[in-house]
């Protein structure tokens, strides 16, 4: 992993840092950066895994971005986590860090009126070190390629819909984290093989300590206490959602490319299932799909919780 541009000198003691691995996501970057800057992210650490579409050149020009690049294998680096962990250890000790993909957009309680710092300040005073935000797969109505995504556009103008109560929740006794699956991907791509459906539980926001490590993507962490983002005695802890803008017109090309590279989890079984599913039934929308309004709606539907933050 080589450094392309290092602006980490601009990181202050209380900066909130976002980390992201990407490959060929140029079209998504303007909106992505705007979204997280508006939430109050102070600095971005990107790892570019061999983009050929100008992603790296674009990121280099951004004043709050530090960029690394690597031609290495995504799979062999534990799906990018080795790269991210190295950067976290070096630059993020004592900082709130948010680790997301370029198609993941964090919503949390009161995110329309309170910046991310309000949340991290509250987590600090509450003695909470990690914050859960499960992936919520968003999809358009009709075929994915019917409404092309334009650069800079809010992807959820297109992918407006989600499954509201179609999620399996289990406990992973080893690491103490929850294992959540379901949503449109399980419903459409894995109806006969649910165990292969991708994990949706994520813990993307952590007050980082150099002794911490993500174990598998951002699904779980070490030490295992960081995974206890849920209450076991009936109460609700505060949590958010990562709105997932994967299912746009860009998806088919991505699936094809990733399948060829074979760099994804479980031999890209997910992408293979997508390709087959996409050919058969390209519409994830169903008559019980819910149209996205705001975080309060997700809260009422029980997909996330305010906990005792009021």
């Amino acid at each position: 992993m080589t450094n392309v541009v290092n602006r980490t000198g601009a990181i202050r003691g209380d900066s909130i840092i976002l980390l992201c691995t990407l490959r060929n996501e140029r079209i998504r970057l303007p909106y992505f950066l705007r979204y997280y800057r508006d939430l109050g992210v102070n600095h971005f650490l990107f790892v570019d895994n061999g983009s050929e579409d100008g992603s790296a050149e674009y990121l280099q020009q951004q004043p709050d971005v530090s960029l690394w690049s690597t031609p290495g294998s995504y799979r062999k680096s534990r799906f990018g986590m080795d790269w991210i962990t190295a950067l976290q250890r070096k630059y993020c000790h004592g900082h709130w860090t948010l680790v997301v993909d370029p198609d993941e957009f964090l919503v949390y309680p009161f995110c329309e009126t309170r910046p991310l710092r309000a949340l991290t300040d509250w987590l600090d005073t509450s003695g909470i070190r990690s914050f859960s935000a499960m992936i919520l797969d968003m999809y358009p109505k009709g075929p994915m390629d019917a409404q092309p995504y334009r650069e800079g556009q809010d992807p959820f103008e297109i992918a407006q819909w989600f499954d509201s109560a179609n999620y399996s929740v289990k406990r992973n006794p080893g690491n103490g984290n929850l294992w959540i699956q379901g949503g449109p991907r399980a419903r459409v791509f894995f109806p006969e093989d649910p165990i292969k459906a991708p994990a949706l539980n994520k813990i993307p926001l952590v007050k980082w300590n150099r002794a911490y490590a993500y174990v598998s993507s951002t699904h779980m962490l070490m030490p295992r206490g960081l995974n206890l983002v849920y209450d076991e005695w009936g109460g609700e802890k505060a949590s958010g959602c990562l709105l997932h803008a994967k299912f746009l017109d860009t998806f088919a090309a991505k699936a094809e490319e990733e399948l060829k590279r074979g760099q994804h989890y479980a031999d890209s079984a997910e992408y293979r299932a997508y390709r087959d599913g996409l050919k058969a039934q390209p519409d994830l929308w169903c008559k019980w799909s819910e149209k996205y309004i705001n975080w309060r709606q997700l809260e009422i539907l029980g997909l996330m919780s305010k906990g005792n933050w009021a």
Partner: protein, 580 residues
């Protein structure tokens, strides 16, 4: 703040009858804004800054306020939570206030993260109408319900040399040890300990009586070792010297279930405005809109009545309830209760019918019509989920894939009941279905489970299978249903469970149906006028006898005579037991 600039040219008004003592330790620029606001409106301010704050930021604060003649800084103490330092700081700052500002009659104790919600002149007017009143929450240890760590009276009778925040283990051990050996400190002069919010507003008379009283050294020595003395020192001693205690705080300050103060943000603006409280804490330091609004002079008071924090109280108590109890029947990323801690296994009542659709020909349609509920087929059927109307997807985008359902049956049922809150769900069940949730449902007080035992034999009786296959299947289903019934009859079961055997049920089906329907829709307490159509059971007794003859003993159906004419005649079929 922006409002201060124009006032700089205007002469500062003379000092009035109200002074503020401000304890600050973070976000000093906000403390400065608030102090300036009060000082420029004729209220002297004495600021205490936590000794642990860096000197350079204290110097900056002092420089920021240097133009104000009625602002003082008092001797600095380290204010670790729960320790004497906070009281010492308050004493010192109050003494400065009393000594240097003789016009002050009421001293208001505030923090650097407090914000005035109403113009200070309204507060002054309010106090001027009550010149002898001391506003301080002060209740006896028996009356408080909010203390941390379960320590009420013991705060006053034990010793606490260890920090609760940083040496919790030692703290707890030492408390336990003292309890075991029966250690008790003596309370001086037989004073009665009182507790209450740290934020008070006391008169000069009261404060000077406390601070200059003959026993001050004695009391200070005692309270120095009381746990969280800032919630008890003034609260207790005020009772010794004041005849006019109004036991409430003028500062709106709410605590969550861990004893941390709730924080106010910009989106609380309207709530705060309508609360009619004089001062609120704690304000998030970056709540720019709150500071801009409430520190400007445009913030005219509403009706100017008594403080009325009811709405804010409700908001915060709901938040605590959400954190502690959560929403019953919800399983999600931040609420995953251990078994028996669900506080409601499912979100709403639902009904499970076993055998009814075997005995009646149009049961599902009839039930939906009579009760106005959603009636599904066998949700746990082996091949697919039989959603009402044969839909492939249902509420919440649940799929009819049996594999998806069986992958996590508990999530499936909990999801269904959660996603359909407001519409009661009914479904058919039987020994041919996935039995994984038998215990879950039996222990669920939301479940209404009605079983006609042995009714699964009716479809077999009507089937066109070879009799050997029928016998084998009958034996299998009977074994499964027996196991299920033993679960339902277990003493721990919490569901509303009713079990009839097939024979007794068809003897008089209307009465059980009426009971079940009444329970589902209690408001429409009316007699059933239309019955579902009972299936033709002519020859069923012989069928059971054939099973017996082949070596399978059917035990769940009750007594069916072998003769064919035991059933109602054909002419009455269809409306067999209509009760008018």
């Amino acid at each position: 703040m922006t409002d201060g600039r124009t006032d700089l040219v205007a002469p500062q008004p003379p000092n009035g009858t109200l002074g503020f003592v401000m304890l600050s330790h973070t976000a000093l620029h906000r403390a400065a804004d608030t102090a300036r606001h009060w000082a420029e409106r004729g209220c002297p301010v004495v600021i205490h800054v936590d000794k642990r704050v860096q000197n350079w930021s204290v110097e900056k604060l002092q420089a920021d306020l240097a133009d104000l003649s009625n602002v003082r800084f008092s001797e600095r103490f380290a204010c670790e939570w729960g320790t004497w330092g906070i009281v010492a700081a308050t004493q010192a700052a109050t003494e400065v206030m009393l000594a240097e500002f003789p016009s002050v009659r009421h001293v208001y104790l505030a923090s650097g993260s407090c914000l005035p919600l109403r113009p200070v002149k309204e507060l002054i007017a309010y106090l001027d109408e009550r010149p002898r009143t001391d506003f301080i929450e002060s209740v006896t240890t028996e009356e408080v319900g909010w203390t941390i760590g379960g320590l009420n009276m013991e705060r006053f009778t034990l010793r606490f040399p260890f920090s609760w925040r940083t040496q919790r283990w030692l703290f707890d051990r030492y408390v336990a040890l003292q309890r075991r050996v029966g250690f008790q400190r003596t309370i001086p002069n037989g004073i009665v300990p009182h507790l209450g919010s740290q934020w008070w507003c006391l008169t000069r008379q009261t404060l000077s009586a406390i601070l200059q009283g003959p026993d001050r050294a004695l009391y200070d020595r005692y309270f120095r070792r009381v746990w969280i003395p800032d919630e008890s020192y003034f609260q207790t001693l005020v009772r010794q010297v004041s005849a006019n205690v109004e036991s409430r705080s003028l500062t709106l300050s709410k605590f969550d279930f861990q004893g941390k103060p709730h924080i106010f943000y910009d989106d609380h603006l309207q709530l705060l405005r309508r609360s009619d409280c004089f001062v609120a804490r704690k304000i998030w330091p970056h709540a720019n809109k709150l500071y801009a609004t409430f520190l400007s002079d445009d913030a005219e008071g509403q009706a100017g009545g008594e403080p009325n924090p009811g709405k804010i109280d409700r908001l915060f108590s709901k938040a605590v309830e959400r954190r502690v109890k959560g929403r019953p029947g919800l399983y999600m990323q931040s609420r995953f209760p251990n078994e028996h801690w669900e506080n409601g296994r499912t979100a709403a009542p639902y009904s499970v019918f076993q055998g009814f659709s075997d005995v009646f020909e149009n049961f599902e349609g009839w039930l939906g019509k009579v009760t106005g509920t959603r009636v599904h087929g066998h949700l746990f059927a082996p091949d697919r989920v039989e959603f009402a109307g044969g839909e492939a997807v249902f509420n919440g985008a649940l799929s009819d894939s049996a594999a998806l359902r069986d992958y996590n049956a508990k999530s499936f049922l909990a999801n269904l009941i959660w996603a359909t809150r407001g519409e009661r769900q009914c479904f058919q069940f039987g020994p041919g279905d996935n039995q994984e949730l038998n215990w879950f449902m039996a222990l669920d007080s939301n479940a209404q489970i009605s079983v006609i035992s042995g009714a699964w034999a009716v479809p077999l009786f009507k089937s066109n299978l070879n009799f050997t296959d029928i016998r084998r299947e009958a034996a299998r289903l009977q074994k499964i249903e027996l196991e299920h019934l033993s679960v339902l009859r277990h003493g721990a079961a919490k569901a509303r469970i009713r079990i009839w055997n097939l024979a007794e049920f068809i003897e008089n089906p209307m009465e059980p149906l009426q009971t079940i329907v009444d329970e589902i829709s209690p408001r429409s307490l009316r007699r059933l006028t239309e019955a579902p159509r009972l299936t033709d059971l002519t020859g069923f007794g012989q069928f059971l006898q054939n099973l017996r003859n082949q070596g399978m003993q059917p035990v769940l159906m009750g007594d069916f005579p072998v003769t064919n004419d035991s059933r109602p005649s054909d002419s009455r079929r269809g409306r067999p037991y209509l009760v008018k």
